[in-house]
Symmetry: C2
Subunit: 303 residues, 2 copies
């Protein structure tokens, strides 16, 4: 049987930039799609961005379009506002009807989920030698979010996860109040790239050595708490840490060792205890988990 | 087609008591099993209890036996120690090979999962008018645990959830150190029945009015934090609160209102915002979610 090769489109909508890409791939394929063309644009207002997005994809005859967006988004297909962005702190995008606005511009199939959910799907399906039974993908960037791939599906319930907003215990040396407009000192309010910038008055890459050490101590404390909680609640088979904040030298090593201290030999699984460097890992798809995620939605529409 | 009625056995193994029951039911049935006979025994040593359990079930010709036990238990069917209790604080049961010891006594099919997972399965399948897409079952008793039913399956990954042990922020008025032997001041260490007893030097039912009010303030603070985190991470379609601590007058009402304060209109779902009294509920199967859970494992072995 000759498998039909098809053109798919992927859009990754983030708080600072939007990535668009086109790839040729095969339905139900275990092979990573090969990207033919890619374009990055700055996130501005929805209407401005949608025109740029349309201009890019209009050059190709795409069969389906997979969209991974920051949330919260209404993902209940039976809801009146299916595909609409809801209570985001990003004001121009609050209550923006993303899916229907895309549908007005594109006549192909459109699939939509959160940026982190689609990244979890791509990493779970294509990131590792064997497809994973489950994996948790986290982004620690401007914001913090997580998506869970489990038994071939993305975790959805009453809504999609918003696990960047969980409560954490304050580090005793941290006097910073927090920046989340909804919860002030939730995980995202204390440990996101935006929180780091506000705490020090400059971006992480511009901190001096002493500030960087302090920041790493604080951030790894919060992220280790959060990851310990995710492990105790979701029991993922692998945890994948993406996002700009994870570029900080050795942050992942500090997070791993803090998690071991917190959980204190309660989880007696050798995948966790003996091979934590293979359990808590960087994205196998590098910085492209999100953009591959859009393709994964097209290739596995019944995830 | 005449459906075969079959005798099933269920064992609910808790820290203070063990329930055994026999019911007649139909495979894949949407009807709640009718319990024919039930027996409660005190939890003592594994060998003592196993003899009592065998004596009870030996009177019946049971087709399958469903076991819901406190954890942690190894539930990976491919693991050498599948069905073994691992790092429990209950010393006589630590490292007890529960499944193989049961197999030595019983020749029927045996299914095993955690007490809270099986309760989630029973509540999800039989508790509500329509089967739920997902539900989170929590027990707040001597210990705290949670099980998640999702898309017709119980959530398992590298292990089963151990969500009673998540970290929580300390209430500013609470000077109690915590009682968890692994994590000291995790949720179970601060808000379980055992923690209440140790904090006040007496059982919850013996507290005077002032102590009771203080205790409710503290406990609802911790449980609301935990539930908010579970909602943000798991996005369950319903949350069911069982266990002895939930018998405290109106505790569920305080928990609901504290969750609303914590989440602060971030979750824009009407099931949550407008109908929280139908979203966070008491078990529909009353105190029997756990024992029905064992039957649910027999009726839906591929959950």
């Amino acid at each position: 049987m000759i498998k039909q090769r098809t053109l798919y489109g992927s859009i990754e909508i983030g708080g600072t930039k939007i990535n668009c890409a086109v790839a040729e791939t095969i339905q139900n394929s275990k092979t990573i799609p090969s990207i033919l063309k890619e374009k990055k644009i700055q996130t501005k207002t929805p209407n401005h961005n949608l025109n740029e997005i349309f201009k890019f994809f209009n050059q190709y005859n795409i069969h389906s379009l997979g969209v991974g967006s920051f949330g919260p988004i209404e993902l209940d297909k039976n809801a009146k506002n299916f595909g609409k962005i809801t209570s985001t702190p990003k004001i121009p995008w609050r209550n923006f009807d993303l899916l229907n606005n895309l549908k007005e511009k594109f006549s192909c199939n459109i699939y939509i989920d959160t940026d982190v959910n689609v990244a979890a799907l791509a990493e779970g399906k294509w990131g590792f030698e064997n497809e994973l039974q489950s994996c948790l993908y986290l982004t620690i960037g401007t914001g913090i979010g997580g998506g869970m791939f489990l038994n071939n599906k993305l975790l959805h319930g009453i809504s999609h996860p918003e696990m960047g907003h969980i409560t954490v215990k304050k580090h005793p040396d941290d006097n910073f109040e927090g920046v989340c407009p909804y919860h002030v000192d939730c995980l995202e309010g204390l440990a996101s790239g935006f929180a780091i910038e506000k705490r020090f008055g400059k971006k992480a890459q511009n901190l001096n050595l002493k500030e960087k050490q302090f920041m790493k101590k604080i951030i790894s404390y919060y992220l280790a708490q959060a990851l310990s909680n995710y492990i105790l609640i979701l029991s993922p088979n692998k945890i994948i840490l993406g996002g700009g904040v994870m570029n900080l030298n050795n942050l992942i090593i500090d997070i791993r060792s803090n998690i071991k201290k917190i959980l204190n030999d309660y989880i007696l699984k050798k995948e966790f205890n003996e091979k934590i460097d293979q359990y808590i890992v960087s994205p196998k798809l590098g910085k492209k988990s999100g953009i591959y995620g859009g393709f994964a939605l097209c290739v596995f529409p019944n995830n």
